[in-house]
Amino acid sequence: MLPSRKNFFWSFRNFSIQRMQVNVKGANSSYFGNIREGIKSSWEGLKLSLKHIFEARRSRKPIGVADKEYFGQQTGIVTLKYPYEALPVPDNGRYRLHNEMEDCIVCDKCAEICPVDCIEIEPVKATEEIRKTSDGHSVRLYAAKFDIDMAKCCFCGLCTTVCPTECLTMTKTYDFSEFIMDNLNYHFSDLSPAEAELKKKAYEDFQAAKLAAKNAANAAKANAEAPAPKAEVPRKEVLATETSAETPANPPAENTPPKPVIKRPVMKPVIKKTDPNLPDTQA
């Protein structure tokens, strides 16, 4: 059914009335009212931008959120010329990782908890206690490799929470971008590769000597005789090559020294207890 001419007219009229009412709500909808309001609001806008130009004479100071004045700076240029000036970072900022090698006991906990596997550690057993950390832990492992790849790091901070000696920390350094990705792989090991090789060798030698001594003792016990003591030095070398051949096979079943401080010469009993397994743990 077509709408009659009259209905059509009425609907149009209602529509226009509705529209007018909507307009009335905001501005004065009369012709001159619109113009007046347009001029007024335009002038307000111009005044506002002029105020900002005027206030652009000075810049806001780069102060940190801890500063009392932090919310006091409401006007002025906001831009920070970054490489030349920077906002102070709180001392507990958690950005780049740092490992204090002196205090590290190479326990590998950080590498294990890391969700993105960005820490790589290669421990080398020492023949005796190397040093004490500043909080009294004994260090018995050298780190032939202690690499943290900050390119992979997701800054979760888990490694720092598990660190027993708190040697691995996040520092407030945040600007360490590099053009070459490999440069983001930080090497914390305090041993040069040659030195690390030397330490490995020393441990293997030591281990071989132990084994030889034990074999000798066993032999002596079994025979219940009095065998002539063998010359240790040449045998050591043969055994050392044997043990090093099977090193990479097993996963690191690390037995890190427990927290309580133990006497210095504890090396002997530990080695004796786990004698057959020890050469395997060098992976």
């Binding site: 113009i35 111009l46 506002l48 931008s49 002025g76 240029i77 831009t79 010329k81």
Partner: protein, 366 residues
């Protein structure tokens, strides 16, 4: 020839400064610093940008209509630059002292539209075409208030010669042939009986000679913003919806020419506004009793000092206008098309018609 070289040099120098100024003004309005790296306070930024632009490849889209596409930037620039031919930069320096200067100016800058349409249509890109169509609709609409505002001044000054209009608004009025007997009264009213012919300064500017010209100048200014496609009337460019409007497909040198034309248009129209309403090359400082500020700050026509001060004042006024254009641009959001047309046809044009009538009446009173 001298005027040609001076205006070309002025235009190029001005463009480098204006782009820098635009970036700084926008930065300060938005509490930023703007370019800071190249040179002292980033002063060399535009030069660096220009060098980069000139090195770029001159790309012509494969499906574009080649010749109109290549020619359009030149037509746009020539149309704008030709407008400077009748601009009286100093009392003596004017490319052409045509008696129909104002008429010529309005006619020649309308050719700009043909260039815009050529650029947009030949690009074979829907955004370019839409931008060009909007641009044309806008410029043709706003030529009405611009024309009426200009006519207000022409009616009041009784001439279309821009140099004559300039002379009328200052202390050197008697130097112009035919104006030896003219007298400038305050507010252009003889009945007030205050002779300001030898006082000069801003008191003899058109905005003071006919006080309602302030409104006319505001209308002229708003309409010229639309003519230049400047924000808040930058619907033809509208980066957020049309990418870049008619110059979407341009790059390198040709884009630089379009940019130069846009900034040239700004300078031309603010200069025209300064000549028509703000005294042209005349000094704003009046003679106050024995303190002859007007004579000190504007030399007599024909002298080197007169030419230097004349150029200084006109360029200063134009730059002031350009600053306001930038100020406006970084304050207001873009108008909708219907708001644009409402403003043009329902506000500016009727107001201008009434003011034209009042200008004529004021002339008869004066």
């Amino acid at each position: 020839m001298l005027a040609f070289l001076i205006f070309l040099g002025l235009l190029l120098t001005y463009m480098i400064l204006a782009v820098y100024a635009e970036r700084k003004v926008s930065a300060f309005i938005q509490d930023r610093l703007g370019p800071m790296e190249i040179g002292w306070y980033g002063i060399g930024q535009t030069v660096a940008d220009l060098i980069k632009l000139l090195q770029k490849e001159d790309i012509v889209p494969e499906r574009a209509d080649k010749w109109p596409f290549l020619a359009a930037p030149m037509i746009i620039f020539v149309a704008v630059f030709a407008g400077f031919a009748v601009m009286p930069l100093t009392p003596d320096l004017q490319g052409s002292d045509a008696a129909v200067g104002v008429f010529y100016l309005l006619a020649i800058i309308s050719i700009d539209i043909i260039g815009l349409l050529m650029a947009g249509w030949s690009s074979n890109n829907k955004y370019s075409l839409l931008g060009a169509m909007r641009s044309i609709a806008q410029i043709i609409s706003y030529e009405v208030p611009v024309g009426l505002a200009v006519i207000c001044a022409a009616v009041y000054c009784q001439t279309l010669d821009l140099q004559a209009i300039s002379f009328q608004q200052g202390i050197w009025i008697h130097e112009y042939p035919g104006y030896a007997q003219e007298t400038n009264y305050l507010f252009g009213l003889r009945s007030l009986g205050i002779d300001v012919t030898q006082v000069g300064g801003f008191l003899t500017w058109n905005v003071v000679r006919m006080p309602l010209f302030f409104v006319v100048y505001v209308i002229f200014f708003i309409a010229t913003l639309a003519e230049c496609n400047r924000a808040p009337f930058d619907i033809p460019e509208a980066e957020s919806e049309l990418v870049g409007g008619f110059h979407t497909e341009y790059s390198g040198f040709r884009w630089a020419i379009l940019f130069l034309a846009e900034y040239g248009m700004m300078l031309l129209l603010t200069m025209l506004g300064a000549v028509l309403f703000l005294g042209g090359w005349n000094t704003p400082l009046p003679n106050i009793g024995p303190v002859k500020l007007a004579f000190w700050t504007s030399g007599a026509p024909g002298t080197v000092y007169g030419n230097l001060t004349g150029a200084f004042w006109l360029v200063t006024k134009a730059f002031g206008g350009i600053f306001v254009q930038m100020w406006v641009r970084w304050t207001y959001p873009r108008l909708r098309v219907d708001q644009l047309m409402y403003l043009c046809w329902k506000v500016l044009t009727p107001a201008c018609l009434i003011l034209l009538f009042l200008s004529a009446v004021w002339r008869l009173l004066g």
